[in-house]
């Protein structure tokens, strides 16, 4: 149940102050050296003005690029294990787009199905999301083709829409209400406003349910190898993606002590599926590219009842060779 308010710029200032007074850090897009990335900020003035997206995603707030899962000390005939308590910093992520806010559900689906990952949960617990709706888009965006939109509320605790000299603020969840309660005076009941009119129009580019239904029959198509011909097999797409969650486990030890770390990994890397015997079930880049598409658009819906893609376009923008996901999906849909 959403309550809609108007929030002036001054009130946003006050909210930032109150949030920090409550012991939380705020991560928001900032411009630095010609790049826009999430960084700690103190006031709204530091937040970037004219961005479509940050390059890296907010998933690092709940799923950092490196995380220690356990450590140990060793002696002959003895191992002492240390089970770490996750250190989660209370955090508000401000200014990400609705597409990216919608990505946390896909991470949650993996980390909490069947067994629960305490490291992810500790951080998610301490995270609140204030997304800002989109008044601009670029060619890489396709949120409306995957169930999202420039004003989608999925995954946000508060959704702001730029309006007048401030914002419309939809307070959506208990976490959102808790934030509101830190600076309640700034949240003034809003008159009825056509939110969609304030946002950029993003026509749907393709019929995703039809594509998802078609994918099983396309598994052996030459299409995937052809599309992957220019793919260089790096991990940029997976690492900037708000929903990609595959990880590696690595051991680092020196004979007397050691630790086990989790780090980001990518199904695009050739070693991802390599067996100790030398056999590799996905031995060429076409098969690995296909896995990326199928995992997001076929296996995720089958398994978790949701897509593994939010149409943010980060992969397309970060890819050194412009593997434009929307374009490739359109080609598959038409084939």
């Amino acid at each position: 149940m959403a309550d809609t308010y108007q929030l002036s710029s001054a009130s946003l200032d006050a909210l930032f102050t109150a949030i920090q007074g409550d012991g939380r850090r705020i991560l928001a897009p900032t411009d630095r050296d010609g790049r826009t990335e999430l960084n700690p900020v103190r006031n709204p003035g530091e937040v970037a003005r004219d961005y479509i997206q940050t390059t890296m995603s907010a998933k690092a707030a709940v799923f950092p690029k490196v995380e220690q899962l356990l450590s140990y000390t060793l002696a002959k005939g003895q191992v002492d294990l240390v089970d770490p308590e996750p250190q989660a910093v209370p955090t508000v992520v401000f200014g990400i787009r609705p597409c990216e806010a919608g990505g946390f559900a896909a991470l949650d689906a993996v980390f909490n199905w069947d067994t629960r990952d305490k490291f992810f949960n500790a951080r998610l617990d301490q995270l609140a999301v204030i997304a800002v709706g989109c008044t601009r888009r670029d060619e890489a965006c396709f949120c409306t083709s995957v169930g999202g939109g420039p004003g989608s509320v999925k995954g946000s605790d508060i959704l702001l829409t730029p309006w007048s000299e401030g914002f419309l603020a939809e307070v959506l969840t208990d976490k959102g209400r808790a934030l509101q309660a830190l600076a309640p005076k700034g949240f003034i009941p809003a008159p009825a406003v056509d939110k969609a009119a304030l946002l950029v129009d993003v026509p749907a580019a393709f019929d995703q349910p039809a594509l998802t239904a078609k994918l099983p029959a396309l598994f052996d198509a030459e299409l995937w190898g052809n599309q992957a011909l220019r793919c260089i097999g790096c991990g940029a797409c997976a690492f900037v993606c708000p929903t990609c969650v595959c990880f590696d486990l690595q051991e680092e030890a020196d004979g007397q002590s050691g630790r086990r770390l989790r780090s980001w990994d990518s199904c695009g890397h050739s070693l991802f599926t390599l067996h100790a015997s030398g056999h590799n079930p996905r031995a060429n880049q076409g098969a690995r590219w296909r896995q990326r598409v199928y995992h997001k658009f076929s296996y995720y819906p089958d398994r978790y009842g949701m897509l593994g893609c939010v149409g943010c376009g980060k992969c397309t923008r970060a890819c050194p060779v412009d593997m434009n996901l929307q374009e490739h999906l359109l080609e598959a849909a038409r084939s």
Binding site: D83, D117, K118, C267, H275
Partner: protein, 279 residues
């Protein structure tokens, strides 16, 4: 206080080491923590992630039977960093174990049926768990036939147990080695496993087939069994895939909508047919 750490292994003491074949060892492991030992239970088909602390984790089946309490066993070949680290260990050393993971062979559904085990080389360990489980409950099953082969006599694993099975009147064991792998004393068969199965021509009536082996064995044996009349739902296999977390999160073993670590490693041929051909 947060939730349990699903990546934290149990500490296991190596109680016994058996050299099975060149480069292949069996560890008998006992829980260091008595409470963990008491609480532990598993079913045949399940696997674990075994830690060589300092090197990492490796995935092996639990090769012992759930009917044998107080220990678990794993059998592995030294092929890489972790298995080399494990191979360096001695009796009394500590390793880690996370599990039991994965699904199970549904032996409770096989009561009154014949069981046909077809396997080769170091693929016997996962089926050895099932074999002993069934032998410990012998009355529940009818004929038990095991076809097992290896490259050479020396490469056969569980040599002492093979002798035991051979001598049991309630087990039909057919052992074979690849042509050129026999020794002058060898009294078993000579020929690749699928060929021996073809010669044996087992009947599919009321029979469950369990097949485990390297891709080439699977590739040749599955069509053969279908030709002999086995239904795709009566043929079981256990798959391997590269694994890291073992609990369906890291994505490495994902194939189709399946995580081999959660929805497998046990699959019927029918279920395999629904997975993409990328294993």
């Amino acid at each position: 206080m947060s939730e349990a750490n699903i990546y934290l292994p149990h500490l296991m003491r190596i109680a016994a080491i058996t050299e099975e074949a060149p480069g292949v060892r069996t560890f008998r492991l006992e829980f260091v923590d008595a409470a963990a030992a008491e609480a532990f239970a598993f079913r045949t088909g399940q696997f674990g992630l075994y830690s060589a602390f300092g090197d990492g984790e490796s995935t092996f089946c639990i090769a012992s039977s759930p009917t044998r309490k107080g220990y678990i066993e794993c059998t592995f070949r030294e092929v890489g960093r972790v298995t080399a680290g494990l191979a360096d260990k001695e009796v009394g050393d500590i390793v880690g174990f996370r599990g039991p993971y994965g699904n199970v062979f549904p032996i409770d559904q096989w009561q009154g049926k014949n069981l046909l085990f077809i396997t080769g080389g170091i693929a016997l360990p996962p089926l050895r768990s099932v074999i002993w489980n069934c032998l410990d409950l012998r009355d529940q099953f009818k004929d038990i036939t095991i076809v097992y082969g290896a490259r050479s006599v020396n490469d056969l694993v569980y040599k002492a147990e093979l002798k035991e099975w051979e001598q049991r009147p309630d087990v039909n064991l057919v052992c074979t080695v690849d042509p050129g792998g026999e020794t002058p004393e060898w009294t078993g068969k000579v020929g690749f496993v699928p060929l021996i199965v073809e010669q044996l021509a087992p009947s599919p009536d009321n029979t469950i087939a369990l097949v485990c082996g390297p891709p080439i064995l699977i590739k040749l044996t599955m069509p053969l069994l279908r030709k002999l009349g086995f239904g795709a739902e009566s043929i079981f296999t256990t798959l391997e895939n590269r694994m890291k977390c073992g609990v369906g999160k890291c994505g490495r073993c994902n194939t189709g909508k399946s995580y081999v670590c959660k929805d497998g490693p046990v699959y019927t041929l029918e279920q395999l047919g629904q997975l993409p051909a990328e294993y």
